[in-house]
Symmetry: C2
Subunit: 127 residues, 2 copies
């Protein structure tokens, strides 16, 4: 996946948050800072979330253990709920909690069946 | 002020937050998105803040009315305290609440005397 497509995906999700009455920022540091830096941070009067986003043309998407560790660490400090958002080929966005990812020896993975079984569609996430 | 110096200033403040047990992200969108996008968003278990940062070689610094309006709007949605952080020539960083800025016809301004009178040094902000 190109960096541009990833950024476009983040901007699309950012728009969803604002349209649903949340404030949301994209992080500048993601991938280029020594501090944990999730792709999106969003909040409203009630909830606050940190989201790692992935867009792919495949039917599953991997997260490194370090990405998930940093997402957890950031959320522990800030007080956010840690989420991943995944857009697989021809699928809508799914939000998954970290417990819903499948852990392998080296990675965490969001498969199509996991997304469809455990994921929340945006309308479910925001309802 | 160059964009590079502004970014360095933001990274310095980001480091202060992390060193004091807060999580902090720099916003990617600042100045390039239609959504309000403060320079820094930081939080710990107790407090959450949105910060607009300015570095200058002068002895006062202006904020546009739109910058302040957006900082307030973001904070209303997210539930953050809105702050500005100003580093004037040869001075340390000062944190100012929006009520402590002087409003003029066209801008809000942080002068040296306002900073010294009402501003919080980083050690005061984090204590």
């Amino acid at each position: 996946m190109s960096k541009a497509k990833g950024s476009k995906g983040e901007r699309d999700l950012m728009k969803f948050f604002w349209e649903n009455g949340w404030a949301c920022v994209r992080s500048a540091g993601s991938g280029s800072t020594s501090f944990p830096s999730p792709d999106l941070i969003a909040g409203n009067k009630i909830r606050r979330v940190a989201v790692e986003c992935k867009v792919t043309k495949d039917d599953s998407k991997y997260f490194t253990k370090d990405e998930i560790r940093q997402l957890r660490a950031f959320s522990d400090y800030f007080g956010t709920e840690p989420w991943v958002a995944v857009k697989l080929s021809k699928e809508p966005w799914y939000f998954l909690s970290l417990d819903d990812l499948k852990e392998t020896d080296k990675n965490f993975v969001a498969t199509l069946s996991l997304c469809r079984t455990n994921g929340l569609l945006t309308e479910e996430f925001f309802s």
